[in-house]
C-alpha cells in the first residue's frame, strides 16, 4: 500500500519546494534604521511564549532562554562602509543593534538533521518544532547558523513560584526538560487568526495585520513588520519587493542602494526574515 502510494506520488515526493501552492508564507522585515535596541520585544516574547526566567547563575552558564535576543555589536564589519573607519577611542556612531530570533529558514539546516523529525517545515513556511516529539539530540541547535534554538537544559518551569504561573499563556505549552525550543513566529496567534478566517469563510486569506507577533505588536518604533509573503498587498511583501529581496536566492541581485538583506544569506538557508540596513549620517 505504502509502495503503491509512493509510486503514484513519486514526482511529488521528489519535488524540492513541496508547498509552493499554499496560500501562506510567513515572513518578516526588521528595519534597523528604526530599531533602537530597547529590548521591549524580548520581554514581550517572554510574556507571550511562556519563556522561563533562568536566573543569574544559569544566564552565566549560557542557559538563558530568550527566543528573541538583541545583539549589540560595536564595530562595523571590515570594508563595509567608511562610516566607522575614522579612528576614535569611542564608538561615536553608536551601537549596532539587531534583534535576532529564528529566521524560519526555508532551507532550514536544523530540519533534516533531527533524528526523530521533531522539527519540520509547515505548509505556511514555518520551521515548526514539535516539543512532544523532541528527544533532545540537540543536533538542530548545532546546525543552526544563527544559534537561535534554545534547549531546556533544566526543568525550568518547576521553578516558577506561585502565583507567577497564572501568567502562563494557555495557548502554548510549558516545555519540559530535555526539549529544544525556539521562536515560532507566534504560531498560536497565526493559528487563531486562521481559525477566525475560516469562521469568516475565507480560508485562504488572512487580512494583512490580523496576525501580529508579540515582538511586532510591542515594538515602540514599529521596526518589525510581519505578514504573508504570498500576499502581494501585504506590507511585508511590499517591503521585500521594495528592497529587492526575494526568496529562493542565496545572493540578491539588487541595485546598490537597496537596503534589504538577509543575515548569512550566503549559506543558502533561505531565511524568511529580511533586515533593512542600519543608517548613519556621515555628515554628523
Amino acid at each position: 500500500m505504502a509502495l503503491k502510494r509512493m509510486l503514484e506520488n513519486w514526482s511529488d515526493l521528489r519535488k524540492r519546494d513541496y508547498y509552493e501552492d499554499e496560500p501562506y508564507m510567513w515572513g518578516m522585515s526588521i528595519d534597523l534604521n528604526k530599531c533602537t535596541g530597547c529590548g521591549s520585544c524580548v520581554t514581550a516574547c517572554y510574556a507571550e511564549n511562556n519563556l522561563p526566567v533562568v536566573g543569574k547563575e544559569r544566564c552565566g552558564s549560557g542557559h538563558a532562554m530568550h527566543w528573541m535576543r538583541i545583539e549589540r555589536y560595536w564595530e562595523e564589519p571590515e570594508g563595509e562602509t567608511d562610516i566607522d573607519i575614522e579612528q576614535s577611542d569611542y564608538p561615536e556612531r553608536g551601537a549596532h543593534y539587531t534583534p535576532m530570533m529564528c529566521q524560519q529558514c526555508n532551507h532550514a539546516p536544523c530540519e533534516p538533521v533531527c533524528p526523530v523529525a521533531a522539527t519540520y517545515h509547515t505548509p505556511d513556511g514555518l520551521n515548526a518544532q514539535v516539543y512532544n516529539r523532541c528527544v533532545g539530540s540537540r543536533y538542530c541547535g548545532n546546525n543552526c547558523p544563527y544559534k537561535v534554538r534554545y534547549f531546556n537544559f533544566f526543568d525550568f518551569s518547576k521553578d516558577i513560584p506561585a502565583p507567577l504561573e497564572m501568567q502562563l499563556n494557555p495557548d502554548l505549552s510549558v516545555r519540559s526538560k530535555g526539549v529544544m525550543e525556539k521562536c515560532t513566529f507566534c504560531v498560536q496567534r497565526i493559528r487563531s487568526a486562521k481559525d477566525k478566517a475560516e469562521d469568516a469563510g475565507h480560508r485562504d486569506y488572512i487580512e494583512d495585520g490580523a496576525v501580529k507577533t508579540a515582538c511586532q505588536q510591542t515594538c515602540p518604533t514599529e521596526a518589525i513588520v510581519f505578514g504573508n509573503l504570498k500576499d502581494d498587498d501585504s506590507k511585508v511583501k511590499t517591503l521585500w519587493a521594495e528592497h529587492e529581496v526575494e526568496l529562493n536566492r542565496h545572493e540578491q541581485e539588487k541595485v546598490e542602494d537597496a537596503r534589504g538583506y538577509r543575515v548569512l544569506e550566503e549559506l543558502n538557508v533561505e531565511p524568511s526574515v529580511m533586515y533593512l540596513d542600519r543608517v548613519r549620517d556621515t555628515e554628523a
Partner: protein, 465 residues
Amino acid sequence: MSDYSMKDIEWAKINRDVLASLESPRKEFWIVLSVCIFLVLCGAAAEVYQYNEGLGTALMNKPHFWQLYISNFVFWIGMSHSGTLLSAILLLTHADWRKPIYRFAEAMTLFSILTAAIFPVIHLGRVWDMYWVLPYPNERGIWPNFRSPLLWDAAAITTYATSSILFLYVGMIPDLAICRDNAKGWRKKLYTALSIGWMGRASEWMAFRKTYVLLACFLVPLAVSVHSIVASDFAMSIMPDWHITSFPPYFVAGALYSGCAAIITLFVLLRYVFKFEDYMTTEIMDKTAKLTFAIAMVWNYLNLSEYASIWYSNDMFEKEVLLEKFFGPYHWVVWGMLLCALVAPFAMAFEKVRHNMWAMFWLSLVLQLGMWLERFQIVSPPLASNHEPWTWAVVWPGLIQLTITVASFGWFTMLFLIFCKVFPSVSMYEVKEMVFHRRKASSRTDMEDLDKVKDDMIKAEEGLS
C-alpha cells in the same frame, strides 16, 4: 629474530597457556578490575544526577550543545575500528602475524562499540524517549527521520555491532570447542552451548573458512562506512570546520590510528597479565608498530591537508575557527593533540622503541591521549566560534561530563577484562595454524640450507683441487 620464531611451540602448550589465562592471572588483574568497577559506579552516579536535574548540570549550553559526550562517542567508535578492520584486512591479505592478536583486538572492537553506544544515550535530552529513534511501525504513523546523520549512525552502529559480534563469535567457535573440551562446571556448560557442537570436521572447517572470509569482505567496507558516517554527523552539518569534505577519510584514518594505539596498549597489558610472552612476540609488536606508524602518517597528512585547504580557501568562517583553534582559548588542546598525535609517533621509527614493550605501552597511551584531544578539538572549538559572533563562548566540560568520560574508560576496561577472563584472548587454533605453516616452511628452508652447504662444500673441494 627470524620469521619462523614461533615454529617450535607445542600445540598442547598453546592450549595450556591460553587456557591458563582463563584461570590464573596475576593479582594486578583484580586490582585493575575493581578500580574499573569503582569508576563505573561513579559514572552511574553522575548520570543519575544528570538525569534528574537536567543536562545543564553537565555544563553544556548554547552554543555548546554538544561536548564531551560526542567527543567520547567519536573516540570510542574510532577505537573500535582497528580491531575488526585490521583483523579483516590482514586476514584477506594473508598476514599471518595477525593470528595471536586479532582475538583481543576484535573484542576491543566490540567493547568500544558498547562503550560508544552509551554516549548518545547519556547525551540525549530525553533519554526515556530514546526508542523513538527506532523505525518501529506505530498507529500514529510516526517514523524517524532517515535524513538525519544520527539515524545513519544508529543504522551503522547496529550493523557494525552485530556484524562485529558475529565475526568475533564465528572466529572463536573452534577455540570455544577447545575450551569446552577442557573446562569443568559452569564453564563447561557455557562453552558447550557457545561452541554449538564444533568438532573440527573437515566440512565444518570448509564452511567456516568461507564464511570467515566473506564476513571479512563485508567488515572492511562496513568499518570504513561506520566512521565515515560518524564523520557525517559533522561533515553533513553547516558548521564551519565541521562541513569538510575530507572529514570521512580523516575520521577513518584517525579511527585506525587510535585503534592501533589501543591494540598496542592492550597487547602489552595482556602479554604481561596473562604471561603471553611466547605468542605476543616482539616480532608482532614490531609489525603492529610499523602499521601504526604508517597509519599515523596517513592521519598526519589528512590533518595537515585539512588545515591547508581551510587556509587556502580563505573562507571567513572556517579560517576564524582555525585561528581560534591555534591561538584561542582551546589552543592547548590543539597543540597538545599535535604534539601527542603528530610528533610522538615518529618515535616508532626507531627499532629500539618498537622492540621495547613498555616504551611502546607508554607511547601508545600518548597517542591515544592525542587522539582523544583530537576528538575534543573537533567538537568544541567550532561551536565556540560559530557563524554567529554574538553567541561565541568558551565552555569547558563540567565535572559530570569528566566523571562520565573517565567512567567510560573504566567501563570499557571492565568489560574487556571480564572477556579475557571468560574467553581465550589469543586465538589458539590460528596460532596453531601459524605454527604449523611456519614449521612446514622452515623445514623447507632447512633443506634448502643443506643444499647450499653441500654446494659450498663442492665448490670448496673443486677449488682445492
